[in-house]
């Protein structure tokens, strides 16, 4: 992230309440992840130790520290989604994309395809439980998902079998 973009984000969060998480959230939204360079620049600019910022970025699951693929697929793992087959959706997705998701050493689940087109993540709950199971691709929600729907949905994002 360039310095001007970061300055603008910092300027938008001038109230002390919610400041750091607000800034980090915007960085995450804009960059797709929180890069080390940006975090170090932020540390300088707001006068907060890098250890504190790194602690925040690794504590809260909203932030990712690694670059993600072109499209981020998030599978909801809320209770309603779980009882309605979210695990089967995740497994079908792994099959289609040829990846095997596993919890990384930071406790977050995030895996990117080799061609860097797709990143698969899980979320604890979108609060869209009525149409479980749900997945989200780049901000678009897909409800009542079945493994059979996946090729069609992925096709909208340039996936080919």
């Amino acid at each position: 992230m360039d310095e001007r973009t970061l300055d603008a984000i910092i300027a938008r969060h001038d109230a002390p309440a919610g400041r750091l998480l607000g800034i980090l959230g915007e960085i995450q939204n804009q960059e797709g992840y929180v890069s080390r360079e940006t975090l170090e620049m932020l540390s300088e600019k707001v006068g907060v130790r890098i250890s504190q910022l790194y602690g925040l970025a690794t504590f809260y699951s909203y932030f990712t520290l690694r670059p993600v693929g072109d499209h981020v697929i998030t599978i909801c793992m809320g209770t309603a989604c779980h009882v309605k087959g979210a695990v089967a959706i995740l497994e079908a997705l792994e099959g289609l994309l040829g990846i095997k998701s596993d919890v990384t050493d930071d406790g977050k689940l995030s895996i990117t395809t080799i061609d860097r087109k797709f990143t698969v993540e899980i979320a604890r709950c979108f609060g869209a439980c009525s149409m479980a199971p749900v997945l989200r691709i780049d901000g678009n929600l897909y409800g009542y998902a079945t493994p059979e729907d996946l090729p069609g949905i992925l096709g909208e994002y340039g996936w080919k079998p």
């Binding site: 925040l56 009882v83 604890r124 929600l141």
Partner: protein
């Protein structure tokens, strides 16, 4: 313009009413997150395409969600002099037919779910839509609605959440005007206490008492916070409350702030709710324009404003001290209480702080408007008022259900929810999220109130009710929740950090059919210690899903365990 008097309010109200019930037909599309996700926005766009940007004969509007999620996308049609008609399962393909019918003063009857000739918004406005369309079922006759009592959701799906005028038109901010210009702060707290309202975040602490403690706390600077971190998986009523009727939350906070004597408010909302955040921001902006937030509200000299702080994906931040830490820019690791938030040194930036859940705030305007006696008449003794539940999982009629506290699980799951989806047999429900428990169907005559749920090992929580059917593996459900709690543990204290990890390992072993009776003993010892020794509520309650499934579905464990 600034609203300072009842007359100003009346003027805005008239303008709002013209938006809700224009002199021409209005088509309103339900556009909360779930409505959008199942195609509501495409329906909206298609209708707009057909009728054009500015149509002299038809008004197109966006509304929130009435809660019957299974039937979405939902579209409301108001034709002057006729009942409001709710259409269900609308697709973009239906748009043409809808517009053509509306042009003729009609509605597509085969798409109609129900009609509403008259609607009581409770806070001083009853909408008399009109008569006709007799072939369409009445709202009261739709089984999903007939046993509900909409107090919190009284406006949801009927007004545009992005138009403050519409909220004012149905009696919004009148309670705030009444409170700020005619009631002493102590009198407001008395009313809330007498109403019997208890915290809707789950623990059920009396809201009025909390306010009194906060009011009496030493300190020249204080905060009120709205907890909108709705973290329980399977619960989304707060999201809908904010997306469909954000001004109700703001009005509740305004009244509370005045009663407690606070000028700074915050809404702590999870980042996973972008639409709710946007609608709250819009609502705050509009309230400021009208002078309902900011300096010298209603010319009373009282000032109050609200900011938004976003969470970043940590269930533990629903815990009060972790929530405050998060707003302060620290990791959400709870600290031992006392000091409580209301104690000097214990709240946000060290100032005494009052924290209430979204739905608790939503209850305030109606309590002030209708009075504590009216409110206390709803629900059961010691459990007054209604509660919104998200009825989800393997139930036929999925959606948001608002019922008086004390309503039985049977009524919620079978009468309103119509039992299992696909004619499957319902086995259990899970209430209260990861801190709650699994309740077997044989206990469904239990009234849903704070104490009754506690007695059978569960909790009210924020209001998620997830239905499980005959195909659901209850040991897997226990593992699901422990996995959730373990990965959401902040990691500060050992029983939660390490204890839940080992609980999960044992459950994995059981599900892999590699466990023995000895492992069940260890499981029982360990969970007991986690409950007794964890630092905060997350750890203390995390074993509940295991404890309740062990108590009620022991046979499912035994079938997996080797002797």
């Amino acid at each position: 313009m600034r609203i300072v008097s009842a007359a100003d309010m009346e003027k805005v109200s008239r303008s709002g009413l013209r938006k809700i019930r224009p002199e021409k037909p209005r088509i309103a599309v339900g556009l909360a997150t779930c409505g959008i996700a199942v195609g509501g926005m495409r329906v909206y766009d298609r209708i707009k395409e057909i009728i054009g940007e500015e149509n002299p004969d038809i008004e197109l509007a966006r509304v929130g969600c009435i809660g019957y999620c299974r039937e979405e996308p939902l579209v409301n049609i108001t034709i002057p002099g006729k009942p409001l008609v709710i259409l269900h399962r609308v697709t973009p393909g239906d748009a043409e037919e809808i517009v053509r019918a509306v042009e003729k003063g009609e509605v597509p009857v085969e798409k109609a779910l129900c009609r509403i000739p008259l609607w009581d918004h409770i806070t001083g406005c009853t909408q008399e839509y009109g008569a006709g369309f007799d072939g369409i079922p009445r709202y009261e006759d739709v089984p999903f609605f007939s046993h509900q009592k909409k107090v919190i959701l009284r406006n949801s799906g009927l007004i545009n959440p992005e138009q403050i005028d519409e909220y004012i038109a149905i009696g919004g901010y009148a309670a705030a005007l009444k409170a700020l210009s005619g009631m002493a702060p102590e009198a407001i707290i008395d009313e809330v206490e007498k109403s019997g309202l208890r915290g809707r975040g789950g623990a059920g602490f009396p809201t009025g008492l909390k306010w009194r403690i906060a009011r009496n706390a030493e300190g020249d600077r204080k905060f009120v916070i709205c907890n909108a971190d709705e973290g329980d998986p399977g619960a989304y009523m707060n999201r809908n409350e904010m997306e469909s009727d954000p001004h109700m939350v703001l009005e509740g906070m305004l009244i509370g702030a005045y009663a407690i004597g606070v000028s700074e408010g915050l809404i702590y909302i999870r980042a996973e709710y972008p639409l709710a955040i946007r609608r709250l921001q819009t609502a705050i902006g509009q309230a400021r324009e009208y002078g309902l937030l900011g300096k010298d509200i209603f010319g009373t000299g009282f000032s109050f404003d609200i900011g938004i702080a976003t969470g970043a994906g940590a269930f533990v931040c629903g815990e009060s001290t972790a929530l405050v830490a998060s707003i302060e820019g620290r990791t959400g690791r709870p600290h031992p209480r006392p000091p409580r938030l209301t104690d000097p040194g214990g709240g946000l930036f060290g100032y005494p702080t009052d924290l209430n859940n979204v739905e608790s705030w939503c209850n305030i305007p109606v309590i002030i408007s209708k009075g504590s006696e009216w409110y206390a008449g709803i629900g059961a003794k010691g459990n007054s008022g209604t509660k919104v539940f998200s009825l989800v999982g393997k139930v036929d009629r999925v959606g948001l259900v608002e019922v008086p506290l004390g309503t039985s699980l049977n009524t919620i799951v079978f009468t309103i929810g119509n039992g299992g989806a696909g004619n499957k047999k319902v086995k259990a429900v899970q209430t209260g999220g990861p801190s709650g428990g699994c309740i077997p169907a044989r206990l469904f005559d239990t009234p849903v109130d704070y104490e009754s749920l506690n007695r059978i090992g569960s909790i009210m929580g924020s209001g998620g009710i997830v239905v499980m059917d005959e195909d659901t593996d209850m040991v897997d459900i226990a593992r699901y929740f422990i996995n959730f709690a373990a990965s959401e543990s902040c990691g500060k204290c050992v029983p939660c950090r390490e204890g839940l990890k080992h609980t999960l390992l044992i459950l994995n072993k059981i599900l892999a059919k590699k466990a023995t009776k000895k492992d069940l003993e260890i499981l029982s010892d360990l969970t007991e210690t986690i409950v007794a020794t964890s630092l905060c509520g997350l750890g203390q309650t995390a074993p509940n899903p295991v404890l309740t499934t062990l108590a009620y579905f022991r046979d499912e464990y035994d079938a997996l365990v080797n002797p």
